[in-house]
Symmetry: C2
Subunit: 322 residues, 2 copies
Amino acid sequence: MLEGLYVAHSDLITYTADDVHCLVTANKVEGKVGIATGGGSGHLPLFLGYVGKGMLDGCSVGDVFQSPSAEQMLAVTKAIDSGAGVLYIYGNYNGDIFNFDMAAEMADFEENIKVLSVVAGDDVASAAPSAPGEKSTRRGVAGIFFVYKCAGAAASKMKTLEEVKRIAEKAAANIRTMGVALSSCVVPRVGRPGFSIGEDDMEIGMGIHGEPGIRHGKLESADKITDEMLEKIVADLPYADGDEVDVLVNGLGATTLDEQYIVTRRISQYLTGKNIKVHRFYVGEYATALEMAGISLSLFKLDDELKELMEQPACTPFFKQL
Amino acid sequence: MLEGLYVAHSDLITYTADDVHCLVTANKVEGKVGIATGGGSGHLPLFLGYVGKGMLDGCSVGDVFQSPSAEQMLAVTKAIDSGAGVLYIYGNYNGDIFNFDMAAEMADFEENIKVLSVVAGDDVASAAPSAPGEKSTRRGVAGIFFVYKCAGAAASKMKTLEEVKRIAEKAAANIRTMGVALSSCVVPRVGRPGFSIGEDDMEIGMGIHGEPGIRHGKLESADKITDEMLEKIVADLPYADGDEVDVLVNGLGATTLDEQYIVTRRISQYLTGKNIKVHRFYVGEYATALEMAGISLSLFKLDDELKELMEQPACTPFFKQL
């Protein structure tokens, strides 16, 4: 898979340290803050696909649903740093946190590269109530796309590492996502589905590795499912009357674009009813769970700064905005 | 689905004649040849998704796997003509041919709009041997994307209707496609799969509406399947030592991007062995068959003129090139 990616997109991406798992931009910009992400395979276009102009500079990737190693993250860090420091943006999973923290320490002590980190968690379903100061259990899912986009645009404007971090944190705090799965997926090494969902059933709130959802039930219409998810998303931040948002309608792998647009229509109706204005819709496969059938919805609450960053151009293998 | 499309992409597309099935560009260019396509729903991003800047100007769309009507095609034709005439580019299916021919006659007699047509047929599996002068049985499948791209770029350069037609015909003649299906799909109105493929089986050469393929057999590795398809594709045109091609690796709906890149890797190896040079790879879902699992491969033989047109920018809901 990785070899195919490099063959197809050699104008935008290459790899470092003789390791195809260590993907870096083919168009390094001197003096710019480098942005790296990473995570397990099986989520294309996440994470690899957002390395390019105006977004990320590097990405280390592990086996399917497994974290890359700290050494791989460090190799990417070294390759993309050009003196302005490196920002890590990744999802809230223990393996990734452990390895990225170790890579950041190694970069600091061994390479004298300043690294800051933003851990994104946008999933409504996994946000268990926690005491103040406790670590969030909120998983990072498709909404991390918005964090990449805003941080990438900020770095392209040659902002400092601290500024890019501030923007990434603000963006991450303004995103909420919820998913629904209609089928399971097969991790190739395992060779059979990790769980099963009945033919007429669905699992609302399921994670992108098959983590259990918050409600298992019979299939309902696209409109009803959309309403149920939006109700939880809107209440969670909360998004309020007069807010402006970007919306991501994300296919999890096997769900048709037709169905994604049926859901898009309902989102528009629902948000109009709440007087929440949509700045832009992004519809398609942005973060998948292999061949899982299902969809996730993300709302990203905008202010003037974030909106302007979302409108900047970008060119990566999977996301192009003019 | 259509309402969702208009909501999400109002900067690029709108509709005419108070009929959401009659999609037209939101950015009409005066004096430019208009390009229209059309066909059944269920193939997103085909056909609708390629209306925008640098590609198509209009598209009429029918129910799932059904042709739009001649009246709908005519409505689109009237909306996109600005005096330079309109070119129809569509796939080789009887319903579409019948309706587009009727629309062209009505445009000519009733509206005084000059219409020319190019019927694209790129599918290797459906090309039954025919006597000279006989109508081709070759179906139009994913490769029509290349025809849209070249014709759209030519029209954007303000070439005449005859010139745009010449380029579209040359492009169409240089494309060959072959598909493999691993599962069926459900036409919503019917509510059950139109055919079945065993869990461990595949159908090589299957059409995007489930038309029978040329070989049914047990599943094989991605490399073996790719080699078998490329052998037939390369022999059919034929593509020869020293040729330069654009390559389209197209997911049919439920097949992961990971798998598409595994196939991309093998294509690169295979064509290198034949000394056929790849100009660019296009990988992703470009023409689907609802939620069918499977993939199609297209080769597009380039000359200097076609290559230059492929490199021009485009911006549509589904295809953006900078």
